[in-house]
């Protein structure tokens, strides 16, 4: 990858920045969270419900595969 030109650190010791930082942290602190057990169960349920519609997971029969191997052409 081309070298990532890192930009200057935005943080500085001024008041305006500190106010913005606190304001942002207040927003992030205030969200409602659910338990990991519930979040995990929901992900598992979603995968289970949609598994049969996932061709890469289930495998694709050759007859239904738009990318099935092209047969070589023979010039008669």
């Amino acid at each position: 990858m081309v070298s990532k030109m890192s930009s200057k650190m935005v943080g500085s010791n001024n008041l305006a920045h500190a106010r913005r930082m606190v304001q942002q942290l207040r927003v992030e602190a205030s969200i409602e969270r659910i338990k990991v057990s519930k979040a995990s169960a929901d992900l598992m349920r979603y995968c289970g419900e949609h598994a049969k519609y996932d061709p890469l997971l289930m495998g694709i029969p050759a007859s239904e595969n738009p990318f099935k191997d092209k047969k070589p052409c023979i010039i008669l």
């Binding site: 990858m1 081309v2 990532k4 030109m5 890192s6 930009s7 650190m9 935005v10 943080g11 010791n13 008041l15 500190a18 106010r19 930082m21 606190v22 942002q24 942290l25 207040r26 927003v27 992030e28 602190a29 969200i31 969270r33 659910i34 338990k35 990991v36 057990s37 519930k38 979040a39 995990s40 169960a41 929901d42 992900l43 598992m44 979603y46 995968c47 419900e49 949609h50 598994a51 519609y53 996932d54 061709p55 890469l56 997971l57 694709i60 595969n65 738009p66 990318f67 099935k68 191997d69």
Partner: protein, 340 residues
């Protein structure tokens, strides 16, 4: 106590509050919840098509919504629109700047976009009356390279940049409607939520952030990675996302639990991840690596389910078609491969 000192203390308190709230929700783990789930078994895919035509490293690709066409960008200075079924090139578009790092396909199929070290997001009309492809807008304003861009629709696009910001643009006027600030390092990647109301970004500050597209606010920030995040993708239901990093791991973060649920890593894997994608159900996580391979992970169990070897250089980009039928990988070896 000065106001600055008070603010610093309040910031510390808020960080602790977030840490404690996350801990309080950490009653289990995704691994534990899925312990009884059957493994996906060995996932094997074969290269079905090789798309040849670029003359230099491929940096980016995106499928069209029709699951058949796709766009790729290479530092040979070309954007190519391919028909993946036939391998035909529909368009080969010469770029004004060859230093391209990203490309995108509008959901309508009418536009493509790209950008890179020129700091500009160029919009190309693919369906002009004359039948040729031309630049219709150059979106300038970023003060750093364009790392990623994604169309919301024909008139709005979201970009991420090495200048540490993301932006939502009105393509018609060429102006930034909203600027998303908060990252302290180059933003490398973004992913739009399925409902298009939010997006996640991943950056060189090792954090990922969830943004509200409408009001420009950062709603949540996630840490955990120990190096640059190069790639980010939403889980299909919009409640989680995965990141890929130079620290050789991918991580799954849940939005509602507000924390990391799983890390995808292996002692034998010591190179960076460049790109990530989910299969249609989300059960499989595909990740492209600097070591020329693609690994297939079981999202829920955290185990590696397969390896896709075939490229002769770094896998720089990948994507799964919207019908879930195929994975496309793009590489520094100048080829794209279609797998299923």
């Amino acid at each position: 106590m000065s106001e600055l000192e008070q603010l610093r203390q309040e910031a510390e308190q808020l960080r602790n509050q977030i840490r404690d709230a996350r801990k309080a929700c950490n009653d289990s783990s995704l691994s534990q919840i899925t312990a009884g789930l059957d493994s996906v078994g060995r996932i094997q895919m074969r290269t079905r098509r090789t798309l040849r035509g670029h003359l230099a490293k491929i940096y980016a690709m995106q499928w069209a919504t029709d699951s058949r066409l796709l766009v790729s960008a290479s530092q040979d200075g070309k954007l190519i629109i391919w028909d993946s079924y036939s391998t035909n090139k529909i368009h080969a578009i010469p770029l004004r700047s060859s230093w391209v790092m990203t490309c995108a396909y509008a959901p309508s199929g009418s536009y493509a976009a790209c950008g890179g070290l020129d700091n500009i997001c160029s919009i190309y009309s693919l369906k002009t009356r004359e039948g040729n492809v031309r630049v219709t807008r150059e979106l300038s304003g970023h003060t750093g390279y364009l790392s990623c861009c994604r169309f919301l629709d024909d008139s709005q696009i979201v970009t991420s940049s090495g200048d540490t910001t993301c932006a939502l643009w009105d393509i018609e006027t060429g102006q930034q409607t909203t600027t998303f600030t908060g990252h302290t390092g180059d933003v490398m990647s973004l992913s739009l939520s399925p409902d298009s109301r939010t997006f996640v970004s991943g950056a060189c500050d090792a954090s990922s952030k969830l943004w509200d597209i409408r009001d420009g606010m950062c709603r949540q920030s996630f840490t955990g990675h120990v190096s640059d995040i190069n790639a980010v993708i939403f889980f299909p239901n919009g409640n989680a996302f995965t990141t890929g990093s130079d620290d050789a791991t991918c991580r799954l973060f849940d939005l509602r639990a507000d924390q990391e649920l799983m890390m995808y890593s292996h002692d034998n894997i010591n190179c960076g991840i460049t790109s990530v994608a989910f299969s249609k159900s989300g059960r499989l996580l595909l990740a492209g690596y600097d070591d020329f391979n693609c690994n297939v992970w079981d999202t829920l169990k955290g185990e590696r389910a397969g390896v896709l070897a075939g490229h002769d250089n770094r896998v720089s980009c990948l994507g799964i078609s919207s019908d879930g039928m195929a994975l496309a990988t793009g590489s520094w070896d100048s080829f794209l491969r279609i797998w299923n």
